[in-house]
Symmetry: C2
Subunit: 337 residues, 2 copies
Amino acid sequence: MTTAPVACFDQVTTLVEPRIKKLLDRLDPHNRLVAAYHLGYCDADGAPATAVGKGLRPALALLSARAAGEPPGPGVPAAVAVELAHNFSLLHDDVMDHDGVRRHRPTAWAVFGPAAAILAGDALLSLAHESLAEADQPGAVRAVARLGADVRRLVAGQAADLDFERRDDVGLDECLAMSADKTGALLSCACALGALLCGAPPALTAGLSRFGSHLGVAFQLVDDLLGIWGDPGRTGKPILSDLRARKKSVPIVHALTSGTAAGDAFRMLYAPIRQLRESDLELAARLLDEAGSRDWTGKEADRQLGRALDELSGLDLPAAVRSELVDLSYFVTGRDH
Amino acid sequence: MTTAPVACFDQVTTLVEPRIKKLLDRLDPHNRLVAAYHLGYCDADGAPATAVGKGLRPALALLSARAAGEPPGPGVPAAVAVELAHNFSLLHDDVMDHDGVRRHRPTAWAVFGPAAAILAGDALLSLAHESLAEADQPGAVRAVARLGADVRRLVAGQAADLDFERRDDVGLDECLAMSADKTGALLSCACALGALLCGAPPALTAGLSRFGSHLGVAFQLVDDLLGIWGDPGRTGKPILSDLRARKKSVPIVHALTSGTAAGDAFRMLYAPIRQLRESDLELAARLLDEAGSRDWTGKEADRQLGRALDELSGLDLPAAVRSELVDLSYFVTGRDH
């Protein structure tokens, strides 16, 4: 495990957060409260709070602008846009998934109701596009089109994820494709958007984009592992939460399609007709381990991380930017340097 | 009553609809089906259907481009964007309002579930921004910013509307402000967006914008009247539907704040502790009439229509465009020419 690459997250705190807070002032009071609560800027009654959360996407967007030879400043509208688009999707996903806890706090819909969370998400997506359109930079129009297309991929991924919950024939390939849409698309967008906004050459933007796609899938696979075996004190979610919600994440679909005895036992246990007790959840996690699914998912995360780093090494980047992107990649996937 | 201004709606059918259908092809299969069903292009099983609906917003956006001296073609990306943004909001509002019927058919969430309707709405809002960003026209960036800001106003109006349902102290002014946000903002956007996209002078865009704001409020007030006294065969909604849903639309808030005996009786009947029977709904509608609320709302719609037309007469417009905008204004508010 590596330590956090402090500098790029510090820039999110000093450059991006103040701009997001300023944009929230444009919202009507109802949506401002819900959005600020969701972002961790205040409590449910509006009292100021300190936001937690890494700010991975805005950090990548600032690095993306620097990859194009600019200072981080011109990347700020892109960083703001991807962070707002990310939080739009979290607000909506929590409603759809009936998730009650995020970042150690009750989710926005659990506090303010589903309608309020839907509307606040809609408002944040609008602000994201405004941030890009107001940037007065050469690539503003292309950045808007790119954000729109990647939000559509994200939405497609969420639709597939919900569809998977109703199906018992999900294949591993379509499950990985879902992860690429649901998480890879917006991370890829973050990695490309800063450079795109600054008018960088298409080859650089495309390379950063591919780097972000692979990093996004690696990140999601690690998140899938944490959703089953993660420490609730660190993930901010209940123990074994993806199993409790009968998610069809990659390790779970791997086991279901593994053809192993442990995988078959897991399938019987996970069948929708059965009520899952706490003891069943622990057994299910052990069966996933025995089916080799935990191991396979970890190795696939390593492989995707490797492909992300391969993409980086093919790009002509300032040395400091390359080194920060490498550090960030290891850090957010929790893998060994 | 005037007859429909056929030409401008024909242009929506020939120029805008095909472009929207082409954009829907970018969606994943789940979201494409839900969006196409909602737009009336297909049945729930995907079989082609014929869309109904006026296409008021795209018609206004095409006229907006023509107001700037362009042919309707350069206004198409704006027309597509406002129509998609309008349908994004309908998809989400129907979920929040638990409305089961729209345009004589079950609503999308009632057929496909709330999550599917939320996601399809998100996808349409993204496509709306893509339509503008890909327009390759001088005002593309400003058009994106304008759409973002007006969608936020629309969302603020919906948040206020939901808040009103929980409150018993809603004033007539804030109710009119809610209508201006919920309906006026996107109609104003439609009237400005075509011209803005074509790089029209700010004074023209601002004048068209004010025209659209007043027309939007007039249109909403007429819709409020139809929500109570409209013929279900024409509105596509159940009889007395706004009363059944305990909406706080303008005529209802007018009665509640009228200080008349009929208004006070209406307040007692409409109190949240009472279960509303069918006979109560009919009595409620009669009390609104007696309180003068139907009459006042109709007169306010006329006043707003008058202000819209006043704005038009102050603008330097091609004669054919002025005449079509006037005809359209009378037509969509169902008022006498």
